[in-house]
């Protein structure tokens, strides 16, 4: 992507949080059974992806 680094970070963060939100909605609708064993990796993966992209964009800016 050739846009600003902040755009990439926002895009990844937004997609990751939307994905997490979809999982939570499906669980609330009882379409899936989202136990803590599956929720914990989803949350950590979301936070990890955001931090990784944010950190990489900061490194490039330096």
């Amino acid at each position: 992507m050739s846009g600003r680094p902040g755009d990439t970070v926002s895009l990844v963060a937004g997609l990751a949080i939307v994905g997490l939100g979809v999982l939570l909605v499906l669980d609330a609708l009882e379409a899936i059974d989202l136990s803590l064993g599956y929720l914990a990796p989803a949350v950590t993966a979301t936070a990890g992806a955001i931090l990784l992209v944010h950190g990489l964009s900061r490194s490039r800016e330096r």
Binding site: S35, P41, A45, A47, G48, L51, V53, H54, S59, R60
Partner: protein, 419 residues
């Protein structure tokens, strides 16, 4: 005289003082509280107490602090000590990778592809601890202190090695992780049952000692960083003094001896000014052989030395000296030479060059009487061949304009991507 100014395209804008900025220099962890307090004009301890109080309510303060650490940028133009710290982006990337690995491990555990909690978690902790120790003493963080100092002074955009005290702290975390992982592994597999009480007592004593000594370590680290920053500043002062002695003072002495020759004195002053500007802007002399901006400044300096007068060069952007840039450079050199020969006494000559990813443009303006390009004799090849013809052969164009009250402007333009 030449006033060569290179304007970087990515010059950082001035920082908006109205925005909240973390202050890592004044902070205890990441400078969040110090930054907020500095913006609000209150004592940081009030903000710190507020975060601690909020942390007692289900950890809300901790989450808020972590989010503030991530999203509030640190203030720019920090001290030398701040520049010695590792790049924040690298830390975030490492934490992000760690969280992704943790996520994968948790997922594998949830689906049942798992060996045993007693094996995998200690193994992961030991691997992280080993990586920290390895990086501090063998990897890029283990660079020599002199090299670390030089990099910090130059603020190069690369991975900065950590100062000694910080390196030991990170290595200490690594050692703790490895030892903790080994103890957990032994405990989970029942090997510590016999010595359980002794191990518990040891752990309690170590934790107590850590709590007692933590403020001392923290203060020691701060003092070491301050001392290191002071040493770097003193090295910078010594370097500045040495440079002034070797260049400016020597030139001034030479000018006193040549006081009876104004032309020679002016040439010495111009040469010294160019050198001082290049040194202040941290531009190495070799750049004149490799970049268009450097070569243009060098060409202008040479014309100025041979023909006198003043030539002011301003460059915006730069590019390597390929065939096309060489053509523009040669045409510009000829235009500058003509301006110095025929209009050098009328006032300073202005040279403005702009290099974008698509185009190179150079403007040479003088304050002479001006001339009509169409009235030039056919045996005069300077303008016709060396400037106009050369630019046309490379797909560029030349425009020569003379104002109503004199003065000539030569505009050279060439598309960088054109064939």
């Amino acid at each position: 005289m030449i006033a060569a100014m290179a304007v970087p395209a990515d010059a950082a804008p001035a920082e908006d003082v109205r925005r909240v900025r973390r202050d890592p220099d004044a902070g205890m962890i990441a400078g969040v509280c110090a930054g907020i307090a500095g913006r609000a004009g209150i004592d940081p301890i009030i903000i710190r107490l507020a975060f601690v109080a909020a942390a007692l309510f289900s950890g809300a303060g901790l989450i808020a602090y972590a989010l503030a650490w991530i999203f509030i940028p640190a203030r720019q133009g920090g001290t030398v000590a701040a520049r010695l710290r590792p790049a924040r982006g690298n830390i975030e990337a490492v934490i992000g990778i760690g969280l992704l690995v943790l996520s994968a491990a948790l997922l594998l555990r949830a689906v049942g592809w798992w060996v045993s909690d007693a094996v995998v978690w200690p193994a992961i902790a030991a691997a992280i601890g080993g990586a920290l120790i390895w990086r501090q003493f063998v990897g890029p963080g283990g660079a020599a202190p002199a090299e670390a100092t030089a990099r910090a002074v130059q603020a190069e955009p690369r991975v900065e090695p950590l100062p000694g005290a910080r390196r030991l702290s990170v290595a200490g975390v690594g050692v703790t992780l490895v030892l903790g992982a080994a103890l957990v592994f032994l405990w989970a597999n029942g090997a510590l049952d016999a010595a359980g009480d002794a191990v518990l007592a040891t752990v309690v004593v170590v934790v107590a000692l850590g709590l007692i000594l933590a403020p001392v370590w923290w203060r020691l680290g701060r003092n070491l960083a301050a001392e290191r920053a002071e040493r770097i500043r003193s090295q910078e002062r010594a370097e500045l003094g040495a440079h002034l002695h070797d260049s400016v003072l020597q030139t001034l002495a030479l000018m006193q001896r040549r006081a009876d020759d104004p032309r020679e004195v002016a040439a010495l002053a111009r040469r010294q000014e160019r050198e001082l500007r290049a040194w202040l802007l941290d531009r190495p002399a070799a750049r004149a052989d490799k970049s268009l901006a450097g070569a243009l400044e060098a060409a202008a300096a040479k014309v100025e030395e041979s023909h006198g007068g003043g030539i002011e060069v301003v460059t915006v952007g730069d590019c390597a000296l390929d065939d096309r840039a060489e053509a523009v450079l040669a045409a510009a050199r000829e235009a500058i030479l003509n301006a110095a020969k025929f209009a050098g006494d009328a006032g300073p000559i202005d040279v403005f060059a702009e290099v974008t990813p698509r185009r190179i443009e150079v403007f040479v303006r003088d304050r002479g009487p001006g001339f009509d390009p169409s009235s030039l004799p056919h045996d005069r090849h300077g303008v016709r061949e060396s400037i106009v013809g050369r630019m046309e052969r490379h797909g560029g164009r030349t425009e020569i304009r003379t104002g109503a009250d004199g003065g000539t402007e030569v505009e050279l333009s060439l598309e960088r991507g054109a064939s």
